[in-house]
């Protein structure tokens, strides 16, 4: 049974008070996520990722289409016992302590009263917040809130976990912890559906990804398959500066360290590059194939309307 089936869900907003104009937030699309997968939902801001999640959670109503989660209608309240949700930039009741918040959510999700204390202890340990169990949430930093956010998403041991930008607001250590957590969730047999615009996370963690842009689903598949579409690159290292202009003309960005120059070029530019280095009579040190990244995929496929800066997609 698929964990998630999106069946032509769409969402259009009417904007304005007197003269209503329509804004399409999400165009209808089909998507299936299998059980046990870690699925990445990628796209720039405003692409419709959060809209999709809000539709699936029943926070907003679709203008068309439907969905099934764990084989049940997406609006079925009983199904929600088996799913967890971490929203983007979550806010929680800041007058509660971490323990109280988790207890409240566990109660609402139907966890037996007797089990709650141990579950809380375990989950706090898992997200590294045991020391702050009795601290009121109003005193938490953004990173701490994010961890509690993950904690409340899994306190009731759901089969399927939805995470909207789980890495946002975290320092590199924190991001690593979240990555490890997602991996451990997968090891437990859970399905994880998370949206992000940090591509490197998606590459390492996800079994499959979907790419969304301007409300439209642009691609779905295994990362390797997607990047294969885009073609590989090579890294060329040589000694000397004379060949630099020629290499740059071929599209390679040159980085110089001492007198070694590194440039990354498209595979098909390899031969002209080697020729240029030989013509400059400089010494070739190494040629290494570099795997295409999702970054490359984005740049190539999505082109107009999105940029990739430091490994993140920006609209």
């Amino acid at each position: 049974m698929p964990a998630i089936e999106i069946l032509q869900l769409e969402k259009t907003y009417s904007v304005g008070h007197l003269r209503k104009s329509k804004r399409v937030a999400l165009k209808p699309f089909l998507l299936t996520v299998e059980e046990g997968e870690v699925f990445g939902y990628l796209g720039p801001n405003g692409a419709g990722k959060t809209t999709t999640l809000k539709l699936l959670m029943g926070l907003i109503a679709p203008t068309g289409g439907s969905a099934r989660i764990l084989g049940r209608d997406w609006r079925d309240p009983e199904m929600k016992r088996d799913i967890g949700f971490l929203p983007e930039q979550p806010y929680f009741y800041d007058y509660l302590t971490a323990e109280e918040l988790l207890a409240y959510y566990a109660q609402l999700s139907g966890v037996a009263a007797g089990d709650i204390p141990q579950r809380i202890a375990r989950v706090l340990d898992r997200v590294g917040m045991t020391a702050n169990a009795r601290v009121q949430l109003r005193k938490f930093s953004k990173g701490m809130l994010q961890r509690i956010g993950v904690a409340q998403a899994i306190i009731h041991d759901p089969k399927l976990v939805f995470l909207d930008e789980p890495m946002s607001g975290l320092d590199p250590m924190g991001r690593l912890e979240v990555r490890d957590l997602i991996q451990s969730l997968k090891d437990e047999g859970k399905t994880v559906f998370f949206s992000t615009h940090i591509l490197s996370d998606a590459e390492t963690l996800c079994d499959r990804v979907a790419v969304l842009n301007q409300g439209e689903l642009r691609a779905v598949g295994v990362v390797a398959d997607l990047t294969a579409e885009v073609g590989g690159k090579v890294e060329v290292v040589w000694q000397g500066a004379k060949a630099k202009p020629a290499i740059e003309a071929l599209g390679g960005e040159c980085h110089t360290t001492a007198n070694l120059v590194r440039a990354v070029l498209a595979e098909k530019q390899l031969d002209p590059a080697i020729d240029a280095i030989r013509r400059a009579q400089e010494r070739l040190i190494s040629v290494t194939p570099v795997r295409a990244t999702l970054e490359d995929y984005f740049l190539q496929k999505l082109g107009g309307g999105s940029k990739v800066i430091a490994g993140e997609v920006k609209a």
Binding site: M57, L59, P77, K80, P87, P90, Y104, Q107
Partner: protein, 258 residues
């Protein structure tokens, strides 16, 4: 189902307490104590009446203010702050959320009124030296005040489900005033004719009705209060609050959260 409602209600109560709502009891205690001592000094022969009138009016006023101030934010605040997202992602039905919030605020007001009642009776004992049978009316008056809170809370919650806190506060407060004069409104309606009469009558019967719930003066004069009045007032409060809550549920079920 009822467990979730219970949990939401308890959490709403907890929020009110941590919001330092119960501190109003301190002011109330000071007020009652001050009034009693003052009355003890001057002898005007109507100390009992003053204590009951002042005490019960303060209970009513403080409670209405609390009911409105907290009530208007019950839903609106959760939507604004997005604390609702993680709640609705759970098996909580939207109607359970509304009912739970309602019961939580009413519970807060009942607790608050209970402590205030202790204050009123303490002050009464102080100025009158002993209780009389007629003082039972004061307990009934307090019960009616709680029924008043039930109606106002339901109204504040209704408005909270679709409008901003400021607008909700104004509307709820306006309905509170109208409700105090609802009897007059119905009287006016009876004096009009034709199509106007139909419209005004319908409007008059949609308004909340607080006249029958106010027996403060009677209890100050130790007059007995009919059992049938207690029964009908209870039925009234339950039905009116039920209507307002049903309205809130119907609106909230359809609401797209931002």
């Amino acid at each position: 189902m009822s467990a979730r409602i219970r949990h939401i209600a308890f959490n709403t109560f907890r929020e009110a307490v941590r919001d330092r709502v119960l501190y109003n009891l301190v002011f109330f205690a000071v007020l009652m104590a001050g009034a009693s001592i003052l009355l003890g000094q001057i002898s005007i022969d109507i100390e009992r009446q003053v204590v009951v009138n002042l005490g019960l009016s303060a209970v009513s006023l403080f409670g209405v203010v609390i009911a409105i101030f907290i009530g208007i934010g019950l839903v609106a605040k959760e939507i604004e702050r997005r604390t609702l997202y993680t709640v609705l992602a759970r098996p909580v039905r939207r109607w359970e959320f509304i009912v739970g919030k309602f019961l939580g605020l009413v519970g807060t007001l009942v607790v608050n009124t209970f402590f205030m009642a202790l204050g009123v009776f303490a002050a009464l004992l102080y100025v009158a030296r002993h209780f009389e049978r007629g003082d039972l009316s004061v307990a009934v008056a307090l019960y009616f005040i709680v029924l008043e809170f039930v109606v106002i809370t339901a109204l504040a919650l209704l408005f909270s489900s679709f409008s901003s806190p400021l607008l909700s506060a104004v509307l709820t407060f306006a309905l509170f005033i109208v409700g105090t004069f609802a009897e007059d409104l119905r009287g006016f309606a009876a004096m009009t004719h034709g199509a106007v009469r139909g419209i005004v009558t319908v409007m008059a019967y949609l308004m909340p009705n607080f006249a029958a719930l106010n027996v403060i003066s009677q209890s100050a004069h130790q007059q007995p209060i009919a059992g049938s009045l207690i029964l009908y007032n209870t039925v009234y409060a339950v039905l009116y609050a039920g209507a307002a809550l049903a309205g809130a549920v119907l609106i909230f079920e359809r609401r797209n959260l931002k």
